[in-house]
Structure formats: C-alpha cells, structure tokens
Amino acid sequence: MQRKAGKLSANLSAMQFVQRNGLAISAYLLTFTIGWIVFMIILPQLYMFDFSFRHNLLPMEIGGPKDVYTLKNYKYLMFGREGGGEMLNWLHLAVFFKTIIASVIVTIINFLLCYPLAFFMAQMVKGRGQRLLFLCLLLPFWVNEILRAFAFKLIFAELGLVNAFLIGLGILDQPYDFLGANVALYTGLTYAYILLMIFPLYNAIESLDHNQIEAARDMGASWLKIHLRIVMPHAKPGIASGCTMVFMLTAGALAAPNILGGPSSLWFTQIIYQWYNTGGNWPQGSAYAFVLLLSCIIFVRIMMRVFKVGLGDIAKR
C-alpha cells in the first residue's frame, strides 16, 4: 500500500516535472544530468573500486576462471610482496604518509600566507585599490600549471637564481641541491593553489561588519585577540573551504611533483601513475587510487565536523 502511494507520488512529480518544463526540455535536462551522474560520476568510481579487488590479468583471461576477487592489491600496499622479507611495505607507506603530512603542512603555510592578505583586501582597502589587487592575484593563475612549476625549477636549479645569489653573497661555497631537498617542490606546491585559499577567505571575511572590529578595538582587545576571537570565528566556512581545497589539490597533485620532485623522493600520485604506466598493473593502481580517494573523503569529513560546515560551503568558490 505504502509502496503504491510512493509510486503514485513519484509518477505525479514526474508528471509535474514534464508539465513544468515541457517535453523537449525535460528530455534534455534528464538525459544530460542522468548521463553525467551515472556514466561520468558514479559508475566509473564503482568500476575502479571493483577493479582494485581483481588480479592483473591479460585481456583474454578477463571473465575466465582466473578472474576472481582478491585483497592482494591492498595487501601489497600494507605488507609488500608476499614472502618479501619485510614486515611492512615501508617504501610505499612512507610515501603515502609523507604525502599526507606534507600536504597538511603546505595547507597550513598557505593559510598563514594568505590570511593577512585576504583580511587586508576584505576589510582595509576598497574601490580601485581592491580591484587592482584582485587583477594582480588573478593574472599569474591564467598561466599554465606546468609553466608555473617550471619557473620554480629554474629558480631553484643548480645554476638557478637562488644558488647564484647565495654564492654571490658568500653564504654558500657551492650550489645547494634545492630540488633534491624538495624545497622547490614545497615552494611550488604552496604557490600553485594560493587562489583557492585567498578567495574563500576573502569572501568570508568580507561579510564581517567592520564595526565589530572597531568595537573590539575600542574596548581594548589586542590585535591578536581581534583575529582569534572575532575575525576567524566569523570566517570559519571560508577557512574550511580554503584549507580543504588546498589540501585535496596538494595531495592529489601530479604535475608539480613530476617536475619539481627530487629524483629519490616520490609523491603518492606518482606511484599510482607508475602502476598504470611503466608498471602495467591497473588493478594495483586502482587500489592505490582508492586509498587516496578514501583519505580525501576522510579529510573532508573531518573538516566538515571540526568546522561544522556543509559540503556546499566547501565546494562553493
């Protein structure tokens, strides 16, 4: 009975939908949206998840007796090759944790770097000065991500500007390997996603009534206290959004680590890429990709919980 009623109301709302949009437009709306959701968003992720539990088979073996589910791809990330002698797969686990921790650090540095500017732009300048600042912020980000990373490679290279400068000043005797030490990588990663931090922060701080800051100052609140107790609590959704976006993009970055990473150090995405490309083991790569996806989902959930914001606040830019 209840199911019948549910079906009826579904039919009714479907009819209302067609009535409201007309047949042609309804067909367009539904085809594109369902196609997007089913064939581009949901099914590919499910297929990847399914694939991560399979053996790496030749095309003709797929669907055959060997095509059974297995946990070995996940086991490999944890414990390494079976009978490999090691307790855990330290090489890959270390890369995974290094990627996550480094991404958190990059996110924090990014926040500290951008917060003052966002505050300045939102509360201190108005009119033409503000517009000029916006334009200056946007311009570098119209330039390709690869070229931005390459610019940092030039600066930090053995024959680059930083080494030439430091040797010229007599601080260094010989060039320091900034690329090998990942200095270039972290500087480049921080640079890459500045905009995604600045804009959410700006939007959130901009809506704060300046009188509140004035009032706090009149009452004798210190500069630090004004920010910690008034501006930051107000800007919480913006902080959550900026930090989440920057973390996700940094953890999922592939171009900057490829170009700026030292030869001996890897980013987790680079291992995934190796499984696909030179490794030729797609199920293994899928398992690694799924672990990355899961970490990102957990991170977003934590941010939503800690900052008490919805997904819409985070994705809105």
Binding site: L43, P44, L147, L154, S286, L311
Partner: protein
C-alpha cells in the same frame, strides 16, 4: 615613527613580498627565454637572443599537442556546458528532500583528485565498453576518454557558475510568459537562455581554459597521445632547454591578452548592470517624487 606608521609599513612590506612571490618566478622564467645561455637561467646573462622561439615551431610534438588541446577544449565545452546547465536547472527543481543528496553527488567531482577521475574514466570505458559490446576503438579513443574525463569535473565547475546566476532569476518572468501563451520550449529559449547568457559565456571560457591546462586527468586518459600540457610537462621534467621558457612567454602573452579582454568585458557588463540598476532606482525615486508632488497639489 608611531606604531600606526610602523604597522602600515609592515603591511606594505608583506604585500610587496607576496606579489614578489607571485610574479617573480614568472618574470625570471620569461627573462630566461631571451638569454643566449643554452641552459634556461638569467645568471649569468650571456646576451640577448630570440633563437629559442625559432626552435619552438620546429618541435612537432608540441605543435601536434597544441592542435589536440584545441580540439579537446572544443569537445569539453560542447559536452560540459549543456551538462552543467541541465544539472543547475534540475537542482532548482528537485524536491527539498532529494536536494542535499543530489547536490553532494554533482558537486563531488570538484573534490575528487583529478588523477582518480582520469583512472576511473579509463577503466570504466574499457570494461563497460566490452561488457555492453561497444566498439573498442571508440571507447578507448584517447580523445573520447579525455573529453569525457575532463567534462566530469569541468561540468561541476560550470554548474556552480550557473547556480550563482540562477539564484537571481525572477520566476515571475517565466510564469508571465506561460500565462501569455508561450510554450515551455519558447520560455526556455526566449527567457531563461538570454538571462543566463553571461553565465554561459563565463562557463565556455572557464571550460575551455580548464581543459586546455589540465594535466592530472589528461595524462591518464590520453594514453600514448599528448596534449600541449602533457608534452610540456614531459619537456619540463626531463629537458632543460630555454625553448620551454620561450613557449612560456608565448602562452603568457596570449593568456594575458585574453585575461585582460575578459576582465574588461566583465567589468563593462558589470558597469552596465550597475548603471541600469541605478537608472531604475533613480526613475523610481522620480516617480515617487512626481506622485508625491501630485498628491501635494
């Protein structure tokens, strides 16, 4: 100096450093394109040259990558802008109960790492294609995969642009047109689409540029082929040759021109809407003043 003056100088110094960080690397890279040194650097300066630009045009892989990028960009615009529009309109119409779930799903591609979108697209079409019996050549075509893969998240970006505009849509316009006997299709083309035109333009630009410069998804979906961005990444990774700097100068020059035109256009549009809002307000004020005068006499 008072403490206020000191603070003002600290702020100025911070902003100067911030923009030095932002522009310094790009300026140095551009300068290195004109240095004769065979290694891209500005120290030491070995003399001015433009020979690295000549070398660019002879790099066949970059040229064909560029052409591929343009075609893919068109494909992504053609697929993602209509998808984004449909997604945004539906969001306005789904019931309150379904909306949070629907929104979570369609906005999730923004938050999923591009690498994962690339991988899952390749796997899905390979496996799904063989299960359903689609033509292998089609479902594993690098252009098809790249356009579909990139559109997955670019549609979500564009949808956010449409949502922002749709929230200001006056529904009574639609109702009035329907009352006056317009068909739904007419309302869509004659009222909704003209209202959304600025958002459509923004999404077209956004979709094309995002597609053009995407690396993380494309490097998986292009398989053995390359776009300008993936070819460039290969060069930037292994080769150290000033012709990359030269290409950077070309791309930066083009994007700068493009960005400035886009900004000016946007500014002008904003100015026009602002002016019309002001005019309307002024007219209303005049009307009320006239009415008041009438009442007074």
């Amino acid at each position: 100096m008072t403490s206020n003056q000191i603070r003002a100088w600290v702020v100025r110094g911070y902003i100067a450093l911030f923009f030095l960080y932002l522009f310094g690397p790009l300026i140095i890279m551009s300068a290195s394109a004109f240095n004769q040194s065979s290694y891209p650097t500005i120290t030491p300066w070995e003399g001015f040259t433009v020979e690295w630009f000549g070398e660019l045009a002879q790099n066949d892989r970059l040229v064909s990558g560029f052409i591929n990028s343009v075609w893919i960009g068109f494909g992504v615009v053609a697929l993602s802008v209509p998808t984004a529009l449909a997604g945004a309109i539906l969001l306005m119409q789904v019931s309150d109960r379904v909306r949070p779930l629907y929104y979570t799903i369609v906005v999730s591609p923004v938050l999923v790492p591009g690498v994962i979108i690339g991988i899952s697209t390749v796997i899905f079409w390979e496996r799904f294609g063989s299960v359903v019996g689609l033509d292998y050549e089609t479902t594993n075509n690098p252009f098809f995969l790249t356009i579909v893969g990139q559109s997955t998240f670019i549609s979500a970006y564009c949808m956010l642009v449409f949502i922002a505009r749709l929230q200001r849509f006056d529904k009574t316009l639609e109702e009035a047109a329907l009352d006056l006997g317009a068909t739904h299709t007419q309302v869509f083309w004659k009222i909704l689409i003209p209202f959304l035109r600025p958002a459509i333009l923004s999404s077209v630009v956004l979709a094309f540029l995002t597609s053009f410069e995407n690396y993380n998804t494309t490097v998986f979906t292009m398989v053995a082929r390359g776009t300008l961005t993936t070819e460039l990444a290969g060069l930037a990774r292994f080769g150290v040759n000033p012709s990359i700097s030269a290409l950077a100068v070309v791309i930066m020059g083009l994007t700068l021109i493009f960005a400035v035109i886009y900004e000016i256009k946007k500014r002008r549009e904003e100015a026009i809407t602002e002016a019309s809002v002001k005019r309307a307000a002024m007219k209303r004020r005049q009307d009320t003043a006239a009415a008041a005068a009438q009442v007074a006499t």
